[in-house]
């Protein structure tokens, strides 16, 4: 299950809508081992395409170095589909290489099928080419979501 704060979900959706009709992409980083998305990092789609997205290779290196220096991992890796459903394509699956990440897809198509998030916003695990959809729980704060406090150490 993906537990994500409402403000982060809104940022992802706003990025997808802003870049439409091109695909938008980015990461929400969080402390290693926490499974808690905290730091929204929109990335440039170097492909600038309505059907493909790609992090620029230089941006990718800087992103991972920055996360490493903060002991963070990419908890969420998101991108948008601008004309099709929010489900991983064969291309998405072939590139997916973070087995511990939540792969979030947002659809900005005309007939988007809004779910409980208020958008067509869905999350998946992609491990060894196998896609497993998971529940998305939207919370106002992580304080009461069994993931520890937002920005302060978990006091139990």
């Amino acid at each position: 299950m993906l537990v994500i704060r409402r403000d982060l979900l809104d940022e992802i959706v706003a990025h997808a809508q802003r870049d439409h009709p091109d695909e938008a992409c980015g990461v929400v980083a969080g402390p290693e081992g926490s499974d808690r998305p905290e730091r929204f990092i929109p990335m440039l789609n170097a492909a600038r395409s309505p059907t493909f997205y790609e992090f620029d290779s230089g941006d990718l290196l800087r992103l991972y170095r920055d996360m490493d220096s903060r002991d963070e991992v990419p908890v969420v890796i998101y991108h948008s589909h601008t004309a099709t459903e929010a489900y991983p394509s064969r291309t998405d699956i072939s590139y997916a290489s973070e087995p511990e990440a939540h792969y979030v897809l947002v659809s900005t198509r005309d007939s988007a099928e809004t779910n409980h998030t208020g958008h067509e916003f869905r999350s998946y695990r992609i491990v060894d080419g196998v896609v497993t959809e998971e529940e998305v729980e939207v919370v106002e704060t992580y304080m009461f979501a069994h993931t520890g406090a937002d920005d302060v150490p978990d006091l139990g």
Binding site: S57, L60, L61, Y64, E100
Partner: protein, 92 residues
């Protein structure tokens, strides 16, 4: 002296969970061959038919080797080699 090679999460099964390992070599290809001698299976995750896999980026210091000579890109003793899976996809 050895160069440090940074290993992404998905390939750490080949390095016993290590985030970074040491290797020797004057080019990226030599470094990968040296890694393979101690971390079997790694090379096959990076190279297919003598070419760098399109799903993988390799950097020598700050330079993506695709723009710096490919697998023949020179590696200095003070270099850091970073392996990162490309982040890409799309509806196609």
């Amino acid at each position: 002296m050895a160069v440090t090679v940074s290993i992404p999460t998905i390939l750490r099964t080949h390095t016993g969970g290590e985030k970074a390992v040491e290797a020797k070599g004057g080019t990226v290809a030599e470094v990968i061959d040296d890694l393979e001698s101690r971390h079997a299976g790694l090379k096959g995750r990076l190279i297919t038919d003598g070419k760098l896999h399109r799903f993988v980026n390799i950097y020598v210091d700050d330079e993506d080797v695709r723009f710096a000579g490919g697998l023949e890109a020179p590696v200095k003793e003070t270099s850091t080699v970073t392996i990162l899976p490309a982040v890409a996809g799309g509806m196609r």
